[in-house]
């Protein structure tokens, strides 16, 4: 495997060997390693010194169920720190079939320009894409699929990325060529836009899957893992109901963000529940699909296709985080309206979490009424039109809070919280506060833990463990939902890695990778100027009581500072 460096100023490709200290990392861990080794932590995230890195996880490349995720990273324009956002779809798989451990976009054009980069095992071509300027993600993807064929993988940005908005993500094709698998968080779409790249087109039709040192052992471990995954009850829930099933769960704990994180229960919960979602999709038929895979070979199939009453598809997928942030958090109790807002976010190439949070702050400032779908859509259209309120909202929730002078901003390190109010699920609050990524739904959720989520004294250990596992899985390229299969067949992780690479890893490799990744990320953030004061929830959450439990976030600061008290002990070369 090699490292492909694409210079976006000179438009040259340089292929390097993988340095030895990078060889045992992939995905999120490799991103952190590259950032520490090569990117000035003080650099302008939208300047030529920043790099945009595409790194498939260590297990990517073999169509193992739920194990082909792509991690995309760089210095975040939203947080100013380390950023990894990952997505399903085909980008990760196809990059490994090029023979790449990572693709690194470097530098930036001197004059503004817009290009598509076409990559195949034997070719790297920059193609002028000025005709795609300002075009939405869906139209852009359709045009590129028509030009390059249905077998390519594509990572692309929408108008939001071109405008360098800090809530812009990078979309990826799913296995049906639908461009809605977004590496959403932290403004990485703006980094891609700053390098003048509209899309990365990866054509691996003449490539090959990465080699496997011991194919028999690999297949044996794969079989055990698949069986464990299929047997797990969560797999059945997610196949039938998807991540939307979290809505009633969060609501039952009083943790469902409602009207800008002012309440934990929403009177419209039944209308936005997974049960209603499923009933609607089964009744509507046509394009509707309750059980859809975003990656080839996935046995969980948590994705869906949401269609209107005539059966015409609106958006795929409709996920819990969007239902929370663009539904209850905006006071909107209608799945079809949420799906239409989701489509707008996708087409602009925006993170629906950051956008939903920013819209709710705008609503609190009187820019729209809570519950008013058309006013929400009008504000999103102001982003598309480049109008001032659009720029404020498109730069994220912290930007909206500052511009509209609203104190109730649900963000850490400048990044919006996901759909779990941390006053009701305090372990997740510890994760939001201390994760090097900022408040993030992929960094270590704790809602599933069988603990008293309101007790401030028991959350640090739960969060630490969840963060280590999440970082480990993100380094493997493994979907967090596959963790339930690996959780009951833990030996399959070292077995798969050892068979794939010829290593001799022991049983605790997942935790080791997670700790190493977090240590590297903390190192980058510290060099970028982050300190203990950045590892806190916003102060209003320690004062303002959240109904129905009337809970505040009361985990002590000195407890928060213990989450990473092991970091210095980890050997990072």
């Amino acid at each position: 495997m090699k490292i492909w460096r694409l210079n976006t100023r000179t438009q040259n490709l340089k292929i390097d060997e993988v340095p030895s200290s990078w060889e045992r990392l992939g995905g999120r861990g490799l991103l952190a390693r590259i950032l520490v080794d090569e990117v000035d932590p003080a650099c302008d995230p939208l300047g030529p010194e920043n790099k945009l890195i595409f790194a498939p996880g260590l297990l990517v490349g073999h169509r193992l169920s739920s194990c082909d995720r792509i991690s995309i990273g760089g210095k975040s324009p939203l947080t100013g720190g380390v950023k990894e956002a990952n997505a399903g779809g085909s980008t990760g798989l196809m990059i490994t079939h090029l023979g790449c451990s990572a693709i690194i976009l470097e530098d930036q054009p001197v004059e503004p320009s817009l290009n598509v980069i076409y990559l195949s095992p034997s070719e790297c071509r920059f193609v002028d894409a000025s005709q795609l300027a300002g075009k939405g993600v869906y139209e852009t993807a359709a045009s590129l699929v028509e030009e390059y064929g249905a077998n390519v993988a594509i990572a692309l940005i929408g108008p939001a990325g071109e405008m360098k908005l800090k809530a812009a993500g990078i979309q990826n094709l799913d296995q049906d060529q639908v461009p809605s698998r977004i590496a959403a968080r932290g403004g990485l779409g703006a980094v891609m836009g700053s390098k003048g790249i509209k899309a990365l087109v990866i054509d691996s039709s003449k490539g090959e899957p990465p080699g496997i040192v011991d194919i028999d052992k690999f297949r044996k471990a794969q079989k055990t893992y698949n069986q464990a995954l299929l047997n797990h009850p969560q797999t059945k829930v997610f196949a039938d109901y998807g991540t939307a099933s979290m809505a009633r769960m969060s609501h039952s704990f009083g943790a469902l963000p409602t009207r800008n994180f002012s309440e934990g229960k929403f009177e419209g919960i039944e209308e936005i529940s997974a049960e209603t979602l499923r009933d609607q999709l089964l009744a509507r038929g046509g394009d509707s699909n309750t059980t859809h895979a975003c990656m080839a070979g996935c046995v969980i199939r948590c994705s869906n296709v949401y269609a209107d009453e005539g059966g015409k598809g609106i958006v795929s997928p409709l996920e819990y985080e969007t239902i929370g942030l663009m539904g209850s958090n905006l006071g909107i109790a209608d799945l079809e309206e949420i799906a239409r807002l989701n489509w707008e976010a996708n087409d602009l190439g925006l993170d629906s979490i950051e956008l939903g949070a920013a819209l709710a702050v705008a609503a609190e400032a009187g820019k729209m009424e809570f519950g008013n779908f058309s006013q929400a859509r009008d504000l999103i259209n102001e982003i598309r039109a480049g109008l001032p309120d659009g720029m404020i909202i498109g730069n994220g929730v912290a930007s909206a809070g500052k511009a509209y002078q609203i104190e109730r901003v649900p963000a850490v390190k400048g990044q919006a919280m996901s759909a779990y109010d941390p006053r009701a699920i305090k372990g997740t609050g510890v994760t939001y506060a201390t994760s090097p990524q900022g408040a993030d739904h992929t960094s270590g959720l704790t809602i599933r833990a069988k603990i008293d989520h309101l007790d401030p004294n028991i959350q640090v250990d739960v969060s630490r463990k969840a963060q280590i596992y999440a970082a480990g899985y993100d380094t493997l390229g493994v979907c967090t939902f596959a963790g339930f299969g690996f959780g009951t067949a833990q030996d399959t992780i070292p077995a798969l890695l050892n068979a794939r690479y010829g290593w001799e890893m022991s049983g605790d490799i997942l935790q080791k990778l997670g700790r190493e990744t977090l240590s590297l990320e903390r190192k980058f953030n510290q060099a970028a100027g982050f300190g203990l004061a950045d590892d806190r929830l916003p102060e209003w959450m320690t004062r303002e009581k959240l109904p129905p439990h009337n809970a505040v976030f009361d985990v002590l600061n000195e407890e928060l500072d213990k989450v990473f008290d092991w970091v210095d002990e980890v050997d990072i070369c």
Partner: protein, 79 residues
């Protein structure tokens, strides 16, 4: 006593003969969550379930009271 039971996701499907997924359940005094599961015929391994009683994590042996709201779900996470 009456307990309001909220059945989540697949539990609803497995109890299709009951109307809706929010159902009142009449139980003898001093019944526990386990007694309620037995009465409803839910036989999923409790290890994989969450019991949320009046908004708080609860356990199989928890005694129920008239007017309690109990959410029953397969433990999932993510999204």
């Amino acid at each position: 006593m009456l307990v309001e039971v909220h059945l989540h996701a697949t539990l609803r499907l497995e109890n299709q003969e009951r109307a809706g997924h929010i159902i009142p359940v009449d139980l003898p005094e001093s019944s526990t969550i386990k007694n309620l599961l037995d009465q409803l015929g839910i036989d999923i391994d409790p290890v994989h379930m969450l019991f949320v009683l009046n908004g708080m994590t609860s356990g199989l042996d928890q005694k129920l009271n008239d007017g309690d709201v109990l959410n029953l779900m397969t433990a999932v996470s993510g999204g």
